[in-house]
């Protein structure tokens, strides 16, 4: 089944061709997303990171080499890997396995919703169809 994460809008199939389950994790914020948040007075940066970004943005650049005014700062922000708000991480949280309801043999009950065992369900997912790169919800 193809799914779209409602936090990052990434698309993926929940099972790999060899039958292995795939566990989606949202990518970090892109540099332009961080700058957009800064412009909206919702900066995810610490004071030290803000100072570092300001210093990098103030450095001279060589437009003839394809550099831009924000290039060094963008590289810095991309490397930070700042988490996306309400991010989804489908990997299993061992602590949630420990505390989940168990059957008599000590296994997690089959009735337990798998999303409750994830590290973070985030904003959830929706089934979609992807055709030539265009994402459409399933009817």
């Amino acid at each position: 089944m193809t799914l779209q994460c409602q936090a990052c809008k990434g698309t993926y199939t929940d099972t790999l061709p060899d039958g292995t389950l795939y566990f989606h994790v949202c990518p970090p914020l892109a540099a332009w997303e961080v700058r957009k948040a800064i412009a909206a007075n919702a900066s995810p940066l610490t004071a030290a990171q803000t100072a570092q970004l300001t210093a990098l943005d103030a450095q001279p650049f060589n437009a003839a080499n394809g550099e831009t005014a924000t290039g060094r700062g963008d590289n810095y922000l991309a490397g930070l890997g700042l988490p996306r708000p309400n991010a989804r991480n489908e990997n299993i949280d061992p602590a949630k396995i420990e505390s989940a309801p168990k059957d008599a043999q000590g296994n997690v009950k089959q009735t337990v919703d798998p999303s409750t065992l994830m590290i973070s369900a985030g904003a959830g997912v929706a089934p979609v169809v992807v055709t030539d790169g265009v994402v459409q919800p399933t009817s």
Binding site: G10, P27, T68, D74
Partner: protein, 287 residues
Amino acid sequence: MSYPPAVDAPRAPIDGFDRESFLQGPSPFVFTLEDALEVDTLCSAAGVTLTIAGVMLTSDFQIKAFNFQHTPNSNRTLATSRFHIGSGWLLRVRVTASAGTPTFSRVFVWLRTCRGLTSAALTNSTITSGYVTANTDVYWPGNVAQQPLDGEGFLSSVQVSNPAAGADWVATVPTGARWKLTALFATLAAANAGGVRSVRLLVDDGANVLFEVPASATQAINTTASYSYGQGAGGPITADAVVIEAPLANDLYLLAGWRVRTATGAINAADQWSAISLDVTEWISGD
């Protein structure tokens, strides 16, 4: 000094023998009615059912076969089944995949003895352990017990989520897995705006960067380029602005929760990463 009184060893007629025999315990695994056989599995393959078949010499000296089934989880979490197999000595046992077609390093099995059948059972020995495949079994006696990180691993092609436009991609080692990253491929369609794109590949432990390697070339706007990273990869054989390759560290082992991701300098909100595939060797981590 006093000694405990001598106890007669069991003597009785045995099926198939024409005289009374003396038995010194034919197996180190002796079961009473309080004991049980425990099967523990860690599995990354879907649709697998295991059959556990064996033979007991019962306490009344009958040869009795047993046979039961166990369904592993497919998400690398522990699944446990316990079965009474009667009282007596375990003579032989084997575990086979009776449903599904698991390959090596995907279904790890421990055969153990325990007291009790519930989650409160006391596990008190391991008979054998190892990986079961569609065509190979785990058995006792004679099997060399393995640990989950033993063996050549499972070669997997991992298709990573396509991120939304303007975002980098990330792949995380699943809970319960150990990866060795051998190669990866991805495609970046750069929009006709902004500056040249400079792609870096990062490996981190979820927080701290452990390895970072820039692509061997930058990518111009309004182009679509493929990126290949691989162990042993050198520079490009011929200069190609849209086929970009770079080396990976050899023996790049990754623990659960560690991430492989790109950090694309000057990524534009309309840029699109796609066709992201990792070539990994995977083991069940067992931790």
